[in-house]
Symmetry: C2
């Protein structure tokens, strides 16, 4: 344990951060409320909160019409608009950019289709244009952004590169962190899409109550993201959750059962074929149900491997196929029962395809919190790398 000694100055910093955390995510609060929430005395909170206001971290709401007896209290509010973060989902088919304030409130977002065949420079240029547009519509510049997180498919190493593999054409040749850092100057991180989606499910999705989560991204591609003890786990080389690479786990072929189902209109694209099969299965079509069952059977082996390894509380079923969770989950549950010692809860994601960008926002916000924790709490300003 590398605990280091604490002096009064450090104590004050800690208490100031405590106030920040007590303010954030709560409605405008009175000094008395904050004192109760933090365990500090009222005078102490008063001094601290006034300093926060002076520094620009909080703002005062002068008392208005009071509904209760007694002198109406001044209310203090975290100045969420002091800084903003970007969450970017760089997908094969689309780019999704989200801009939020420091409380995670969505300020602006933009979705643009992307050419699946587009090269890395093209794709990066599209990202740049989307970011430009989002900033412009929000009336901001790059200097207003405090942190950026980007989600891409494929395992991402510590430097933000997808050196092992990625379905994004040529993407392993680019260095998105360097590109965006040059532009923003603030902390930039790149992360795997499944991992970000897992973070989003714990933040705003169906797994807010859980600390041990396996997120399964089910779609044309299949992947997984892991949250253990409330923290996103990347693994030593950033490749945690890549159970699909195991040959005994037939994740690569699993969606093929859907595309190859007899009766699928031959004109349908791959994604539409799956949707057709799920719909047919829902209506009781024999062949479609068989196809879904085969899909579930293959999916279950990988999910079981993850579940047996980690024994999570919740498995979240997300990704493009999660809209058809009503068809898949019962079958998946049945298959998992055969493999698992202890069946975790199975829940279907409700965040849709915004989960990656949302998770990116959350990670960017976490980055800022980490900086606050480490450094001294100074006047609000974008951290620089």
């Amino acid at each position: 344990m590398a605990t280091t000694g604490t002096d009064p100055a450090r104590m004050r910093e800690m208490n100031q951060l405590t106030i920040v955390w007590a303010l954030r995510g709560n409605p405008p609060s009175t000094v008395t409320e904050l004192a109760g929430r933090t365990g500090l005395s009222r005078p102490a909170v008063d001094v601290l909160v006034q300093q926060l206001v002076a520094e620009g971290w909080a703002e005062v709401e002068e008392p208005g019409a009071s509904s209760t007896v007694g002198r109406p209290a001044r209310r203090y509010r975290f100045r969420a608009g002091a800084g903003h973060v970007l969450g970017i989902d760089v997908g094969v088919h689309k780019i999704l950019v989200m801009l939020s304030d420091l409380e995670g409130n969505l300020v602006q977002s933009l979705r643009r289709p992307a050419d699946p065949e587009a090269g890395p420079d093209d794709r990066l240029a599209t990202v740049d244009r989307c970011v430009d547009e989002v900033l412009r519509e929000a009336g901001m510049t790059a200097a207003d952004i405090w942190a950026v997180t980007v989600g891409v498919t494929g395992p991402v190493d510590a430097s933000g590169r997808t050196s092992l593999f990625t379905p994004l054409p040529g993407w392993n040749a680019v260095d998105p962190v360097a590109h965006l850092t040059e532009r923003f100057g603030c902390p930039v991180q790149v992360e795997n899409d499944c991992k970000l989606a897992a973070v989003a499910e714990r933040w705003k999705g169906v797994a807010q109550d859980a600390d041990d989560i396996v997120y399964v991204l089910a779609g044309i591609r299949t992947g997984a993201g892991l949250i253990i003890d409330g923290t996103l786990r990347r693994g030593h080389g950033g490749a945690a959750g890549e159970i699909g690479a195991l040959k005994a786990v037939r994740w690569l072929d699993a969606p093929g059962h859907l595309a190859g189902c007899p009766g699928v209109p031959s004109t349908a694209a791959q994604g539409e074929a799956a949707a057709w099969v799920f719909r047919a299965a829902r209506e009781g079509d024999r062949a479609a149900r068989t196809a879904v069952r085969r899909y579930a059977r293959d999916l279950a082996v990988g999910v079981a491997a993850l579940t047996l390894t980690l024994d999570p509380q919740v498995v979240v079923y997300g990704g493009g196929f999660s809209r058809s969770a009503d068809v898949v989950l019962p079958m998946l549950r049945q298959e998992l029962t055969k493999h698992c010692l202890r069946l975790p809860e199975l829940r279907a994601s409700t965040l849709g395809d915004e989960s990656v960008a949302l998770g990116a926002l959350r990670l960017a916000l976490d980055e800022i919190d980490d900086r606050l924790l480490g450094g001294r709490l100074a006047a609000p300003a974008a951290p620089r790398v």
Copy 2:
């Protein structure tokens, strides 16, 4: 973030704990050394350390012959003997009890063979007798023990019971936590043997430098324990690492390749058969090498599933077969290469069959540290449940 406000009293507690940690695991230290180590000022350390001495947590070593110029410094030492903990390995074939002081120094240990067929009450009675003997030889009573951790095979739930399954005959019927708590009154925990062995490898074994560790217990039984981000991971229901339950992972059958190897003396017991095969393989015996290769192939599927899921830094190969790591590891490495995206380091355990009891000691010590962190630092005394 549920951070709570800090006042000067809490600050003092924290600083006192900081001193405790700086004392422990170091040779007797001067005030100046402690000040440097903790970042506190010399007078502050002086006051704190004197209070620790008064409370019984530390003791003074009066200056002896000084080797350098200047006034010789008083040295302070953590009073590791203020309390003791027990680590107990309840195996199928043996009971191993270890008694250590608060610094983890072994004070007494005892190994007794156990009847593999013995019922749970018999086994528990043997444990009791071993504990009695260890305490007696160390000149202690149950009241001197501050924490007890017990290792058993099979997944252990939060209450310390092996409700899912266990190779210990009838063991799921007993409640060892209740039994030992009644006897000791101090915190008692029961944990899975593989998990404890993993902890031991990080504490005193071959993985001291790693934070993300997969420990594989290889022997007649095969199992795994996981350390992620420096912390033992139990999973939500205590069944993390039980990848062997997956049918596609042939861990149950894997040792069979060794027992079934042509040429094994028919008189050999199961454990001896494996040892014979490893020895023969080391000497170049064709059939033995094939058997070991098959064993490695089956083992590798499970290790690959764990590795792909967690992307650890190190895989530790432990258990009874780890003495033959020189034969197995190269083959295992070769097989893993076929499955994994990023091959972790493979290391052979050197702790032998003491790893479970050692890990139990470590967990018991951790329990005490947790109590210290939470409560106020009072005079040294056994925590009571």
